[in-house]
Symmetry: C2
Subunit: 203 residues, 2 copies
Amino acid sequence: MFYTTDSNRHGLAHDPFKAIVSPRPIGWIGSKGGDGSINLAPYSFFNAVSDRPKLVMFSSSGRKDSQRNAAETGAFTCSFVSRNLADKMNLSSAALPYGDSEFDFAGLTAKQAELVDAPYVGEAFAVLECKVTEIIEPKTLSGEPSENVFVFGEVVGIHIDEAIVRDGRIDMSLARPVARLGYMDYSETSEVFEMFRPRSQQG
Amino acid sequence: MFYTTDSNRHGLAHDPFKAIVSPRPIGWIGSKGGDGSINLAPYSFFNAVSDRPKLVMFSSSGRKDSQRNAAETGAFTCSFVSRNLADKMNLSSAALPYGDSEFDFAGLTAKQAELVDAPYVGEAFAVLECKVTEIIEPKTLSGEPSENVFVFGEVVGIHIDEAIVRDGRIDMSLARPVARLGYMDYSETSEVFEMFRPRSQQG
């Protein structure tokens, strides 16, 4: 089947877009407001986007607390979600009034980052500490604004729980990261396989 | 353990950054150059970044053919990788001379997109046809340029193989999308679970 997004008449029970672009990694964004309140929320319109330097981005649908806080303090953290934290990650997506802590609501430990002014999830297997590099309102074909705002940050510090490291590598069977699919679906990373890059055919 | 990225002295056998931000979806980017040559390459610094309108982005490490072609023709496609296409996806990452077709090299069918001037993978379970909205050189804390260039596109058309649709939804156990982890690791999406959003606590 083929359809155009201007009508978006896909004829299915639910819009399939987010199911197509999957599995998406979950950045559990910790941030602090100018008033000192702390916030935590999961984003799956999130990814690493550069290795040198290490840059990540998350896309906020509407002007939400994470984006507001990142703009106010110039910082955020990304904690990562292992299978045993999935329920708490989901709880932290509740729409609480501004200033209420999702850490408290979900029963998570808010730890203060080392290098930036933002909290992170103490229970997470890995955490990135990030300084905001830019916040962008994306261009669209119609010229109408998107609902979304993109927050980019450079990673300045990295926490890793040594319990998930084996032979100098992060072992995915120990970390068991959760990813976002479409609808209400999530996946657990379990079936891992290796492929080596093909030899260059160039030059 | 904690380390700063300015020294990047993580003390592990391999840089863990890409393993931490995982699993990453794979956008298999099809593009056509101004000279009519076609290109295909997998990107995992790739994601959906907006739902209304539907925007995706991929980050090219260096000025590669996909980014060059997207700039020249203003278009690209994203095909998606099911488990049975993983080997061919990997083959398509070979560095071929500019103008040589990775479709031919990997034994894949190049189909012409409906709405944009770019090829896509005929065997893929889903394909997005995209028009370039902007190409950005990201800001960094040091002011030095990143190796990476971000290509953003708006989705104008969507193909879905009806064989993966069940009860009006894409069934991940039929699509079996492949994701990128760290090192040479990939995962297959197999263990799926549902979680429903917590009730709003606001207002």
